[in-house]
């Protein structure tokens, strides 16, 4: 990939650097809060986006994903709290941080009477880091990268939803970036388009670019992300590495056995929580280990066909994190924001 930033030249510019931040973060928010009128859209958001990570931002509609991203990019001023983007305080450091940030926020925004290429030329003219003579080449490369070369000279008016989305992606990838923010990048894309977006994200990740993807499509996040932040009702309810979050969730052991009753009784005798599961027994590993459980079962003469560590899927994790605060209320309601535990 020839269009990738040289990651060696990170340190420079009059950065109002984070005094001794432990790991270098591409973006950091502290106590971020945004109130629209009497509606609290986002509150107490402490988001960390580690350098080089692909962070999936998950949350139901209205959970504050887009508001957070808009504050991150300086499009909206926070009511309270601070934002740091690539080591620069936002929004004052926008001139230093944003040229290295590519963003697709709230869908593509282009003019219908211009062609895709002319729309990109217009955005390119505003890119500080792009030399004037390189503009046509950068636009051509970006169009090619998202597979729009053939439609580049058609008017944006006639583009399909997927093509519009691709053009938005192209403007985010116009020049090599250190940080790319994609808000619902696969909206309106067909399965092939979704795969292409994944490939683009994988390319960016391989090149060392930090990526922030917001989505409500869990499979997409699980397939592409290294880190996850879950938003719910305007606050971050969980964040960290994807694998850690999944393992920390629910550690259980699934034992396939025909002697369900015997197994459950044997385990409960030893104060190991166990319950009947569809194909056998589910054992809670909170207070014990897998080998111990197997030993107990064998001791009790239970026939064990298969023992399997149960991992929480992202979907389950997400449901648990977002539904626990909901108490059965199907639609999350931003207005009645409450402090999450």
């Amino acid at each position: 990939m020839s269009t990738v930033t040289d990651m060696t030249e990170i340190e420079e510019a009059p950065a109002e650097t984070t005094a001794g931040a432990p790991a270098r973060l591409a973006a950091r928010t502290r106590n971020l809060r945004k109130v629209y009128g009497r509606t609290v859209a986002v509150d107490h958001v402490d988001l960390d986006v580690p350098m080089g990570a692909v962070l999936g931002m998950l949350g139901p509609n209205g959970s504050g994903k887009t508001t957070t991203i808009r504050m991150l990019l300086g499009l909206t001023l926070p009511t309270a709290g601070s934002v740091e983007l690539l080591g620069h305080k936002m929004p004052d450091g926008a001139g230093w941080a944003l040229p290295e940030v590519g963003a697709l926020v709230e869908g593509p925004g282009f003019h219908p009477f211009l062609s895709g290429r002319d729309n990109l030329m217009r955005v390119a003219a505003a890119e500080p880091h792009l030399a004037t003579k390189d503009i046509p080449r950068a636009v051509g490369q970006a169009l090619e990268r998202v597979g729009l070369s053939a439609a580049a000279n058609r008017r944006y008016r006639g583009y399909s939803l997927g093509m519009k989305q691709r053009l938005g992606l192209a403007s985010a990838l116009l020049i090599p970036r250190r940080f790319v923010v994609l808000d619902e990048p696969t909206n309106g894309l067909d399965p092939a388009g979704t795969r292409e977006v994944r490939a683009v994200i994988a390319d960016l990740h391989a090149a060392g670019t930090t990526v922030l993807v917001s989505s409500h499509l869990l499979a997409e996040v699980e397939a592409t992300c290294t880190h996850v932040a879950v938003l719910h009702k305007g606050s971050v309810v969980a964040q960290g590495e994807l694998t850690e979050l999944l393992e920390a969730g629910d550690s259980g052991l699934l034992v396939s056995t025909p002697d369900v009753a015997t197994a459950v009784n044997a385990l409960r005798d030893d104060r190991i929580p166990a319950r009947e599961a569809p194909n056998g027994v589910h054992v809670d590993l909170a207070a014990t280990t897998a080998p111990e459980v197997v030993a107990k079962l064998v001791e009790a003469g239970v026939a064990v066909h298969e023992v399997r560590r149960q991992r929480t899927g992202l979907e389950e994790l997400f449901a648990r994190l977002t539904e626990s605060a909901d108490k059965g209320n199907g639609l999350s309601d931003v207005d009645t924001f409450e402090e999450s535990p």
Binding site: P99, V105, P108, F110, H111, P112, D118, V123, P128, P176
Partner: protein
Amino acid sequence: MTLALDAPLLTERRTKAPVGRLLRSELRFMFRRPRTLVALGLLVIGPILAGIAMAVATSTPQGGPGDRAIEGVATLVADNGLILPVFVLMLCMVMLLPMLGAMWSADALAGETQTGALRGLLVAPVSRVRLLAVKAFGVAVLTFVAVAIITIVGIIAGLTILGGDGLLTMSGNTLPFGQSLGRIALMAVLVTIQVWAVAAIALAISAATEHPLVVMAAALGGIIVFTILNNISALDWLHPVLLTDGWDSLADVIRDPMPTDGITDGLLRAACYIVIGYSLALARMSTKDG
């Protein structure tokens, strides 16, 4: 994927795109809008049609909406070609030019917010102050071009259709050709500045909404209200602050000798409106959600 032959894109370490590049890009964008092209096309046709109409109706036109200034100008038209640009400019000043100024201001910020394209510029990034300056520049240039088209086409159409080589003033004497052109140019400049004042206020409204129609409605409604207030003599005390109050004195340009009081007042008033308009736009722009 990129071709192997392509050199990596040379990235320049700077925090702003060159301002000349932004201005060029903005002008290219504004001039490619279909509605801009239609409007400018109409402005070419307008003076020609007016010239033909005047040539056909050799008698004095029956004073239309009763605007005394326009009526006064119209009586002077016969065999007096250079009066055509003056007449058309005054006619356009009543509604068409303010409307175009408001339309371009509406497109500049509200229209761009509506399509979401403004977001793209803000994250590029273009700072909000620069963005406003670029937009104001675009609107100002378009307004100037519109007035220039009316004036130039008016002069050519007047000379070819109505004939004559001097300007018969409202005071009764005829100015020589060179001086006539000077007066017409002065008129065009004055009209441009008055339209800039309308556009500046419209730009402030444009920064506060994402609906271009709101801008148009507010600007045109404002002009209509101002015109009505201006015609109520009981409200004399209010007239000095009304922008439209200065528009009647534009006809002073074709008096000889030229009275300058009304023109100077009009310029000052327009300047105040421009300062107020851009200040409000700047205030709104700096906190606006992109």
